[in-house]
Subunit: 197 residues, 2 copies
DNA sequence: AAAGTATATAAAAGGGTTTTTAAAAAGATT
DNA sequence: AATCTTTTTAAAAACCCTTTTATATACTTT
């Protein structure tokens, strides 16, 4: 039973933030005019917000032609979102780059995982070192733990659930959660509940 | 008289913006507390404003330890300002880098020059090309002319006076003004007033 | 009439604005 | 009691904020 280490932690991607560029400039006033669903309040924020129902995403378009897509749970849906918006813009007579030139860069991945055991966050805070951790239960029930490699921030909850954010690659989420699990195991803070698989 | 071209346009530096770093972090609240003359309103702006009478400068200090010095008319006064502030901080018991490690980077130079002739800005706008110029006398009396090399913005006034901003080296101001003068001369827009030297 | 305001230019600094998403706990509101 | 909002984390985008300085117009306030 030495090889009891799980292959790779089960991770669920909940949100992807990705950037792209539709053109070298965009006339947001014209777009806001033409697309009724668009939200554009330049006094408040320089980006135009455009929401899609399927995939369920929100994309911010900027005058520079650059854009950020948020809310997708996988890269395919980021791509779909970007191409749907590109088509809408083309239908408006706006010149945008060809689909194959729409380069998508993942900027942030938010994912959850589950350690499978409840955590005593006070013990975890002591174990990981108070200087490496932020834990103020009065303010927020999660304990914040930052990793340098991969560079992510993890929120640990008493339930054993983990939120990981900051990763740019899905595999880094798994690596980060594994590192965390290993550290907690080494500290004897995981109750080793055999979840019967 | 073919070599009537002035060697280098007379330029007066009016303002230098330079950046530096005093430490890897600064406690602005403590500094604001200790230095009564400091202005610090973090809700309004994250930088602490510290003004000196001699040299007459205003320096913005940030939590990151970085700072911007504005108002000096020469680099020596930027250096003086930075060292005076460093000393003040040391006297407060704040740890800052040694003077020789305080690296100063000039970020912007504002300078004036004078073409020696009055300009008809409407003719200048036509001559330089309306697409290369911004001129809305109702809004602002100056004509904006941008150069790519050196990358500066020049404001031309009917009086023949020029404001040049954006340069990082003093010599670039002279180069920019010379380029402008050459272009205007080629267009026959300089009245060649021999100013008797 | 004199002294302010505004208009416009460049540059750095870093915090705010907005969007998304999960976790969970406390508080407010319905 | 059920539903909301707040708290926190990360990330991109591009604007605002503030400081300085000359230039020169119009407009407002003393």
């Amino acid at each position: 039973m030495k090889e009891g280490k799980k292959k790779t932690p089960e991770v669920i991607v909940e949100n992807i933030v990705a950037s792209t560029s539709f053109a070298d400039k965009l006339d947001l006033d014209a777009i806001a005019q033409a697309l009724e669903e668009a939200e554009y309040e330049p006094e408040q924020f320089p980006g135009l917000v455009y929401r899609l129902d399927n995939p369920k995403t929100a994309t911010l378009l900027f005058r520079s032609g650059k854009a950020n897509c948020t809310g997708a749970k996988n890269v395919e849906n980021v791509r779909k979102t970007v191409e749907i918006i590109a088509d809408k813009l083309r239908n408006l007579g706006i010149d945008v780059y060809k689909n194959e030139d729409l380069k998508i860069v993942i900027q942030n991945i938010v994912a959850i995982s589950d350690l499978g055991t409840e955590l005593n966050l006070n013990e975890v805070a002591m174990g990981l070192g108070l200087e490496n951790v932020e834990y103020e239960p009065e303010q927020f029930p999660g304990l914040v733990y930052r990793l340098e490699e991969p560079k992510v921030a993890m929120l640990l909850f008493g339930s054993g659930k983990i939120v990981c954010t900051g990763a740019r690659r899905t595999e880094d989420v798994a690596i980060a959660v594994q590192k965390l699990a290993d550290e907690l195991a080494a500290l004897g803070l995981l109750k080793e509940k055999e979840e019967g698989d």
